[in-house]
Amino acid sequence: MSDASINASTLREDEAGFGDYFALLKPRVMSLVVFTALVGLVAAPVPVNPMVGFCAILFIAIGGGASGALNMWWDADIDRVMRRTRGRPIPAGKIEPGEAMVLGLALSGLAVVMLGLATNPFAGLFLAFTIFFYVVIYTMWLKRATPQNIVIGGAAGAFPPVIGWIAATGDMAIEPWLMFALTFMWTPPHFWALALFMRSDYDDAGVPMLTVTHGRRVTRTHILVYTGLLAVLAVGAGFSDIGGPIYLVVSVVLNALFLRGAWRISRRDEDASESDNFAVERSFFRLSLLYLFLHFGAILIEAVLKPFGLGGW
């Protein structure tokens, strides 16, 4: 019998394909990691060899993907319960949890070592810390322990521009931390809006989402407070070295729209939301995606124009 033959004992109709393993890396989250890390790298005041820059972004993305695989390994039990995550490769029965763990650990090691070699050891270490923070501090510890889980998870997702900056400069500065703060403050309103209209998911999974522990009214107020703080920070960053006139215009417009959305969410009651199937919450969530993309896009444009004497202040 050749190893390629099919018999009843080895046949699994739901055997994973290459795409299923790729899905373990959470490609959509990875795209955000790639984009924000790229902005951090380009905004840094040090020219980077394009090949080195490409490798830096690639290995940061692989590190982010590895965190995703480890997250899916650990959270397989709650992913089975939630409608939104039920189709993921582990709950769908295509990939064993152990396989995801091995893939996540192997890719983490590869990404950290290769980023360190391609750029500088500090960047590699910072990527290792980010993976540790997301997998151990957030996924294993605080996600199921505190209703502030989203705030902490937001920190993990906010590190990529800092890593990109360190990869370019080998040093720390205030500017990448402004980019960090932007994603950090953006994450809670973004996810709480999602939690408002994906209501049963987090309840069923027993994840202590703010909507579950403190109620939906408190969540609505929290969205407004965080959006207000975010607006101050985002517009304020426009006057720093990563900002400029283009960024400032983009930021003022987006924050006005975002604040309006948060205000409307805070004024609504459950009956109003139910009656239009959470239209305001859904549109706020969609706007939040655009919000982050355009803010980082504006920082990127300012950085790209700077050598021509056009970007920045």
Binding site: I6, E15, G17, F18, Y21, M51, V52, C55
Partner: protein, 56 residues
């Protein structure tokens, strides 16, 4: 010897093997490209003091 029709599973496994092969080939190309970039930008150049020290 009988000729069996290709099972759907064979196709899926081929896709997986092809994917892994391409990823590995890509990784080799990236390491090669990175090495060229590092060498040509002088990252691996020895310091003058080290070179003269070795001569003594």
């Amino acid at each position: 010897m009988s000729f069996k029709t290709t099972h759907e599973l064979h196709k899926r496994r081929f896709g997986r093997n092809l994917g892994v092969g391409l990823v590995l080939a890509g990784f080799v190309a990236i390491v090669f490209g990175l090495t060229i970039a590092k060498v040509t930008s002088g990252d691996f150049q020895m310091k003058k003091s080290t070179v003269s020290g070795a001569k003594n």
